[in-house]
Subunit: 339 residues, 2 copies
């Protein structure tokens, strides 16, 4: 068998391209600085559905259809879909993709889910197990607030380190046959769980930053690359607080990130104007920014090589009530524009 192991955490991908990608976001995200980049911006939180959970499911279904349309294939030509979300029992994915008929793998990596899914989908195609595979992830501000925090009507005050859950979703369709000009997947780095004992569930960025550091550091070491080999290293949703921490941690190791590092949670909103405190979060944050902004920039040749790092906080309201700290995880994929 072909050895595609570049290290304990990192696998090399030889021949997988992103055929197409699509992103759908909510109104607030459409009003943000990246608003014009997404395939679709919703007018309201409901999208003609009776509950926000059904809206989130519809978002998953529609974004996958959009990506398949752009790839010029039917859903019946996709061999596997890897999908997840933040809702209990991942009902955004389960109900959203229920009627697609695509062989389905449910995944849960909290806000790292999109990158976890892209990594697994890439391996399923590169290993020859499937001819094509898709990854989808979503979050919705209203479903997340009522599940994790307080009823929206309560109008709870948010702390300065709190983040705003993105209403958004993204989907990619992958297959083999990389040619010049394609966006290819080069490496997949699987993160380990890192828990530094942060117990403040309103400081997810701080809790997840050490995991992001660990995965970026491990990726560079195992691939023998330097940060400068990337035009962009982008984390999922550390927000302003977490992005500063991971920058400090990397710089302390001599890994220079100035001008090449950014965070999707910082990019998607205008933090001052849109009152989002530390920035955006949720599975839909990196999913929508990656599919709406970053992959298209690679496709156009504006940038050549990107390390996309999804970051997740593996807590639940129950674990916090039981006094537990917040375990973090980060999964990475290296993307490049093929020569």
């Amino acid at each position: 068998m072909a050895c595609k192991r570049a290290g304990r955490h990192t696998s090399k991908i030889d021949d997988v391209k992103i055929c197409a990608e699509a992103a759908i976001v909510g109104k607030k995200e459409g009003d943000g600085p990246l608003g014009s980049c997404f395939d679709m911006v919703l007018n309201d939180d409901e999208w003609n559905e009776k509950t926000w959970e059904k809206t989130e499911s519809k978002m998953q279904r529609e974004v996958l259809k959009l990506a398949a349309d752009k790839a010029k294939i039917g859903l019946n030509e996709i061999d596997r879909v890897f999908s997840g979300d933040l809702l209990n029992q991942c009902i955004g994915a389960g109900f959203g993709l229920r009627d697609t008929g695509i062989p389905f793998y449910g995944i849960y990596g909290a806000c790292s889910t999109m990158i976890e899914g892209i990594g697994l989908a890439a391996m399923s195609v590169d290993g020859g197990f499937a001819d094509s595979a898709a990854a989808v992830a979503s979050s919705h501000f209203c479903t997340a607030e009522r599940q994790y925090r307080t009823p929206l009507e309560y109008g709870g005050q948010r702390t300065p380190t709190a983040q705003w859950t993105v209403t958004g979703t993204g989907a990619v369709v992958l297959n083999p046959g990389v040619r010049a000009g394609d966006v290819a997947i080069e490496y997949v780095t699987a993160g380990k769980i890192v828990d530094k004992g942060v117990k403040d569930a309103n400081n997810m960025g701080g809790a997840m930053a050490p995991a992001a550091y660990d995965t970026i550091y491990t990726h560079l070491k195992e691939t023998k690359r330097r940060a400068e080999d990337y035009d962009l290293i982008v984390t999922g949703d550390l927000g302003k607080v977490g992005a500063e921490i991971v920058t400090d941690m990397l710089n302390a190791d001599g890994i220079k990130t100035a001008e090449i590092y950014n965070d999707c949670g910082c990019m998607i909103y205008d933090a001052e104007e849109q009152d989002v405190h530390s920035g955006g979060s949720g599975c839909g944050c990196i999913a929508s920014v990656l599919c709406g902004v970053i992959i298209p920039r690679l496709r156009r040749g504006d940038i050549k090589r990107v390390l996309a790092v999804g970051t997740g906080a593996l807590l639940s309201p129950t674990s916090s009530l039981q006094g537990e700290s917040v375990p973090g995880i980060a999964h990475a994929v290296a993307l490049c524009r093929a020569d």
Copy 2:
């Protein structure tokens, strides 16, 4: 690249063996007809932990350590672990495997999680992406009851079709290098979501049976095998009600299952003596029966070839409250004793 696609749903696995497996169950499962087969039977529901959720996490951690010990490797020699459970945000897996340092993929397939995990772990090894990989899944009667149903103290009456969530966990460690006498993974079949409109959340077996049928039928068709090619076709946790339905559906298609079909939910308890109504359920049901009973039987040569089919119901309490039906999914792996 090597083509390992046997059909849209099914991938062929060329060289992956189960190095070792382990199972831990609760007291009630230890009192059942398979009680003597498991590696460890707990004396109570707590196992010296303050909450049942912490107990479930401990079960995941300890069963993986047991399997690694039996495989004579350290946790630091496992390249990937795929794990999940039924708890909101999969905290059984996240907290259970937090300190292992193993690159972690969280998965959610409801009670199909163990087979989903074995399939993904097998592909990661067979594709050369990892030298070794593990899969773990768990459930705990007390964590499931209070999350999904009513407080245990309430003593709610259960319906005749209801199942009893297994307190149990199982783990496998996989690597390449199949030799005569090893238990090898031959095929992985990924299920699609099937929803026939069952809305009774107390009849999971009935809701999942059509998905189990679909996956078994698809597996046999894509591999060009007959049911009789297996010594055992075993579903995850359809219980008595679901097992009868899937048997009827298969027999109506001319697929004969008499004497070779069983269900882990029917095997793990004495339904009459142990008052479990339709039988066992939960991620830990097929996980513990597969790792405690079925794989060891293959290892001893008592049986030669098994199709293990994990079945999951992708609902949540929220989806049921919103009037939704219960989507089912089933993932399968074909195991055999190598000549």
